[in-house]
Symmetry: C2
Subunit: 165 residues, 2 copies
Amino acid sequence: MTSEPRWLTDTEQRTWQAYRRMQLLLGAQVSRDLNADSGLSDADYDVLSHLGFSDRNRCQISELADRMLWSRSRLSHHLTRMQQRGLVVREGCASDARCSEVVLTAEGLRTLEEAAPLHVESVRRNFIDLLTPEQHAAFAEIGEVVVRHLSAGAEPRAKKSRGAA
Amino acid sequence: MTSEPRWLTDTEQRTWQAYRRMQLLLGAQVSRDLNADSGLSDADYDVLSHLGFSDRNRCQISELADRMLWSRSRLSHHLTRMQQRGLVVREGCASDARCSEVVLTAEGLRTLEEAAPLHVESVRRNFIDLLTPEQHAAFAEIGEVVVRHLSAGAEPRAKKSRGAA
DNA sequence: AATGAATGGTTGACGTGTCATCAATAACGT
DNA sequence: ACGTTATTGATGACACGTCAACCATTCATT
């Protein structure tokens, strides 16, 4: 016999339920806002945002996927769609013919700059501003503990930063 | 002029990032475990679980959708797939010919009972057991605050429990 | 009883995410 | 130089969620 299964205590049940419901509702609300405000999906915004913070608004595809914790396939599919909408373009890479880069188009940049403040407001309204400073600290701490635990398990996709390091 | 956009402070940024990453990684890990252990998706487990806690392992479809915070359409599609796999069956309702009920099959029940302890273990391993009791309390509190805020916005789909209340 | 509105549930089309696979290219050992 | 292996990225098939359209039934009003 393996050890008796340990069910969740009431307190633990409460924590897990709270998390699941928060995740569901918060995600839905922020997505809804984003879409209503800017016509973007969560995924769209993530891509635009990551590119906006990248040097010269461009990034190699694999690196972008890694930074976003997305699969390459998912990113590739999504970029195809965003390219069709004129938000980004792919460009070949001179030094390595296998590589491609994505770049924000002018429209992509404009879209991002329009969307960002509204998105931030939504995040504030539905989450950030609901928490006391103490709760911020506590929450961030918890999140980081969990992320650290989960990142430890998955070996970090041998990042061969050629050149530096 | 609308007011100057308030960006997130570093602390707030940290909270938001922690949340997003935790959500991404934790969801992925728990899903992976569930699928590896029991061949079930998150959605599958949720349906089985809700039915398992229902009276006589059955539930009216709309009510189930409401309890799960799913759209009727989503549930209908998913039930079709689960029915094809033999986990649940639909049955008509005597008192109101519009209604249908879903019932766990014997196999569905067996699957749930097999999956549940493993799933609980996964949740413990990747989340619950990483938190101190104080963190549990803090986290649940935060989650509930957010859920309360978000539920307040959405008016609650007038539930008219007719017949067997 | 008859009409129209509301409710329960299904369906199809479409966009998206995952997985396995593939072509092209690079890196490496001989 | 050659062949082998790893890596980058794209693609097709499939599962899933959303949205709008759609029947069937029931309720409300007359």
